[in-house]
């Protein structure tokens, strides 16, 4: 899973003309491999020691069903983006470096999800950020480069904070492996300092409110396929790392810290939705919607005592990845066809791009969390967890966020029902660009219908008990 995209990256770098073909093969293979992995880890977690060295010395790979779902989400979104990007790149003339960078991104994501120690997580996180920044900069325009630079700086500071935290941990316990750390960690000033530093760093990278400032610019200025990758996948990676840390070394972190992360998440939901309502440009709206949706993920931390909350977040991550990718690709089509994406002037697109707009609408329904989408299942589980913990406030936030997302989605979809002015101009988009967003939005919508079997495969224990799974491998 890691090696194949790396190899593909090198091929694509050396022989740019083969890149797209390699990309297809790679994406399909990866999707199959990812599903295979999910199937393999459904029953019990897997550990794989690179070069047979074993934990303290060598590098371990570790996969449980959480990993499986994240890898599947990655491969699905990348599959969709691959099929979308070829025509897009050909028509916009965006640089050929897209493919090798995407392969690096893919390798970094898979590596990150499979990592079993904190330093390895750092390395993959860094690789991820760098390839993501480079991809944003592909946008060529000044605005894109500026956004990329801002992203780079935020990301570097965050990395340093995280690395410092890793150093603290290593200094104190002499191990980096997650499960070993989980056994050894015992509170104390250094540990909590490490917790603070690492959490802060990851919050910046994961664009948690109020340190999300870099995200809307970067995500909206990037070329469309890149936006889909970033919003769908890349922001989830730091969250995943944080989740691993909370499952492992910091499993008995004070409740207050969890509550604070949850509060920030709630603030992100409200603030992101409000901003999305105020945006004049479609891609900015979608980007702010990402800020809001990330907030839902962070609601996990105050609710760790409730059973099922991890399931909720996992399903949410998968469903959001698909829906948001669909939304960005659809928004990209509109931008591409009209040459602008000012929401006020969207009236004429409905007749031109019915399928694209349908994709946006369906993805929007998913983001709102209406049945039968995967997001509905996730939000249902989340509210259930909130009820179970007796923490009403979180449930209210979830509902309020859903209603606000409905408001901003219908701001856009409402334009589908305006009189046409016989608009004939604009750039023709290709069938694959039209269909890909539609198909993944359908997938996100129907995810709710297969939720029951999916949850059985995932079957993640509650966090409080969940540490056992990390101890065990």
């Amino acid at each position: 899973l890691i090696v194949a995209p790396l190899a593909a990256a090198i091929i694509a770098f050396l022989a740019p003309r083969l890149a797209a073909g390699v990309a297809y093969i790679n994406a399909v293979l990866m999707a199959l491999a990812a599903l295979g992995l999910l199937n393999a880890v459904a029953d019990r977690p897997l550990t794989y020691a690179l070069g047979d060295w074993g934990a303290p010395l060598g590098i371990d790979l570790y996969a449980d069903s959480l990993t499986g779902v994240m890898v599947v989400a990655t491969s699905l979104v990348i599959l969709a983006v691959t099929f979308y990007a070829r025509d897009y790149l050909a028509r916009t003339g965006t640089g050929a470096s897209f493919w090798p960078l995407t392969f690096f991104l893919h390798a970094a994501l898979n590596g990150l999800f499979l990592s079993a120690d904190v330093f390895n997580l750092y390395v993959t996180l860094e690789l991820l950020s760098l390839s993501a920044v480079a991809l944003v900069a592909l946008g060529n325009e000044t605005a894109a480069v500026a956004a990329a630079l801002r992203y780079l700086l935020a990301s570097l500071v965050a990395s340093l904070a995280y690395l410092l935290g890793v150093a603290f941990l290593y200094h104190t316990y002499g191990v980096l492996d997650l499960s070993a750390l989980a056994d050894a960690a015992s509170g104390g000033t250094t540990t909590w300092a490490a917790l603070g530093l690492m959490t802060a760093g990851l919050a910046v990278k994961g664009a948690l409110f109020p340190v999300h400032f870099w995200l809307p610019g970067a995500h909206s200025e990037a070329p469309t396929p890149v936006s889909a990758l970033l919003s769908g996948l890349v922001v989830k990676a730091p969250f995943y790392v944080l989740l691993r840390l909370w499952l492992g070394p910091f499993h008995d972190a004070p409740q207050a810290v969890g509550d604070m992360l949850g509060l920030l998440g709630a603030a992100a939901i409200i603030w992101g939705s409000l901003q999305a309502l105020r945006q004049q440009r479609l891609k900015m709206l979608v980007a702010y919607s990402t800020v809001a949706q990330i907030g839902y993920l962070f609601l996990l931390f105050p609710l760790t005592r409730a059973a099922g909350v991890l399931n909720a977040v996992t399903v949410f991550a998968l469903a959001h990845a698909l829906a948001k990718a669909a939304m960005f690709l659809a928004a990209g089509n509109i931008l591409f066809c009209l040459g602008h994406d000012r929401i006020q002037e969207l009236d004429r697109i409905a007749g031109r791009l019915p399928l694209t707009l349908a994709a946006f609408g369906i993805a929007g329904v998913c983001i709102m969390g209406l049945p039968p989408s995967g997001n509905f299942v996730a939000k249902w589980l989340l509210i259930e967890a909130a009820f179970e913990s007796g923490a009403w406030g979180w449930a209210v936030v979830v509902i309020a966020g859903s209603l606000m997302s409905a408001a901003y989605v219908f701001r856009v979809v409402g334009h589908a029902f305006t009189p046409e002015h016989g608009f004939e101009g604009g750039v023709q988009i290709t069938p694959s660009m039209d269909r890909v967003p539609f198909l993944i939005s359908l997938l996100a919508l129907l995810l709710g219908l297969i939720a029951a079997p999916l949850l059985e495969v995932i079957e993640l224990p509650a966090l409080a008990v969940g540490t056992a799974a990390v101890h065990a491998p």
């Binding site: 709102m368 209406l370 049945p371 299942v377 249902w380 589980l381 009820f387 219908f410 029902f417 029951a452």
Partner: protein
Amino acid sequence: MTWPQILPLFVLGSSLVPGLIIFALPERSRNLRSTLNISGAILKLVLVVWMIWKSGEGVHYEFRAALLPGLDLVLRSGALALFFCGLSALLWLVTTVYAVGYLEDSPHRSRFFGYFSICVTATVGAALAGNLMTFLVFYELLTLSTYPLVVHRETDEARRAGRVYLAYTLVGGALATVGTLWLYKVTGTLEFAAGGTVAPFIDSHADTLTIIFVILVIGIGVKAALVPLHGWLPRAMIAPAPVSALLHAVAVVKVGAFGLMRIVFSIYGIDVAIRQGLAQGLAIVAAITILYGSLRALTQSNLKRLLAYSTVSQLSFVALGISLGSSIAATGGIVHLVHQGLMKITLFFAAGILAHTLGVREIRDMKGAGCRMPWTMAAFTLCAFGMIGVPPFAGFVTKWYVGVGAVDAGASWVVWLLVASSFLNAMYFLPILYNAWFDAPPTNWPKERTFPGAETSLVLLLPTLFTAAAAIAVGLFASIPYSPLEWAQLVTERQYSP
């Protein structure tokens, strides 16, 4: 999968599949679209009748698939479910025929009929839902599929109406979701069962269950247009006439009223609802709605808006009937689902014909309409009499049952309410009828189209006459076997028998 398990899916599919195909059809393939639509509607009617027939022989239809761990998607044939399902299937067929004629030359017909079909799928799904979760899923689907129909005209006013509609119904849906989840947490089940499921918990969780009841009634009462949650309905009349007809007679408001029934009968159980004072609260809200809707209807100058306020008022007879705690009143409430549906759909059809053929939208333009289109106005008049509650029309049967039931339950104030409501209905309907029949027609109508040999297009007129005839028949022959009334009595017997 055996046949009884899979049939409910076919019933849904008979409108969903044509709907999805229609989306993909180009605008010009008009014949294919109409064929698909009407054959889907006929197939659905046949399937529903088949299901009703077989259920009478004791066959039990149930489809079940896991939605979440511990929560299933259930479609089940019960007496109440089939009652509503039959009404929807019948009126969908009629409305489809009407809509094909009404929207002859207007743009976006593929989009319109696509959503139209999905809307009916959602209605029938809600009718067949075997637990609150399934009901909720279709309830939300209904919200989404009717929005494009409301804004179909694409004017600024239509889009405003659409926004208001969404604001009301999405908030309602969110509340209903919260209520459902909470209920699930308290009782551990969401299944619909005769006599309710909360009885074992009522002593230990009385306050919580009261709050949940209020949340659910608000969430679902939005669609049932209970005052003060009715604001969207008069605005939504901006939609094309077939949509208004469907919205008011079958789909949205009826699903709301049906949902209230499910909450009172199948979740809480009428005994619990009465003992906790929950049903009485609902009855008072319904009574206020009846009076308020009628009073507002008095002051309207637009015909469809008047009809919309009349719906607000009439629909609450359903809520009133089920919440009085007497089986006779409940029969009246349930049967009013059908009676109000048939009468209101006729009124809207007639209003649509006036707008389509003569360009008449305001009440003051209706002078002499009776001479120009006697058949249409005859249908309108008969159903207006029915609404007022003149015997022997359908509305009278409802009011009679609700009134007798109310006296039976010791709530004699309801009788005065019924008298007042009839009086108000007469106040707003009779002037219209007088003008239409006894004033001389104007020399030229606002925007007239002529149809050789008939007063209007037959595709529009025949469905109208059919529903009018049905509305009269259910009133005149209320007590023959298989009539809606007979059936409603069967439904209530099952709810009230221990």
